[in-house]
Symmetry: C2
């Protein structure tokens, strides 16, 4: 695109970025999962109980996706019973803060209605 000329359309990079955004934040329950992790809830069973309404299947899918996007890590806790802990990565914490801002926008919106 020539300097000074207005863009004619969203570039492929931008479109890809928004699709990734949709892929991560756009799915139902994603924001809640990230928020729960940000609050220190780290084990699958805990997350399931902490987020009423979420199904085990969807929780697992969200965790897998967040792992794939490197927004969380997964570690196995030693012991006879298989315990696992998920945690936000640095990028994941940034996402959590962004989600917090979105939440505040919603709050402001609510209060103005």
């Amino acid at each position: 695109m020539h300097q000074g000329m207005k863009k004619k359309f969203l570039s492929l990079n931008e479109r890809a970025a928004y699709h990734s955004l949709e892929d991560v934040v756009g799915c139902k329950w994603s924001a809640g999962v990230v928020a729960a992790l940000a609050e220190g809830v780290s084990r699958p069973g805990e997350l399931e109980r902490y987020i009423p309404g979420i199904s085990k299947k969807i929780l697992n899918e969200r965790l897998r996706k967040l792992l794939d996007y490197r927004l969380i890590t997964r570690s196995e806790i030693p012991g006879r019973v298989p315990h696992v802990a998920y945690a936000l990565t640095g990028t994941g914490r940034k996402l959590a803060r962004v989600i917090g801002q979105l939440k505040q926008l919603d709050q402001a919106h609510r209060e103005s209605r």
Copy 2:
């Protein structure tokens, strides 16, 4: 919840907030629409051309939803031919900035793969 005690689950308010978030940002094409508006694209026809792949139906639905959440305004441009202009509100601009941050997170993620 007693002070000092850990929350047992996401509160109803938080859940509602995340559902609203999903309702606004979570839908396909929403981020792209907000981004386009942030870049000064304001008329429906322009938006449709600016965001390749989006359908007229979905564009209209997104605009309606953004209006409902008071993230954008709609004004009719005087003239024989019905022209309309959408624009981000203050809150809408904040959302656009947040979306920009999410986009940057995605960029960082891409570069680390």
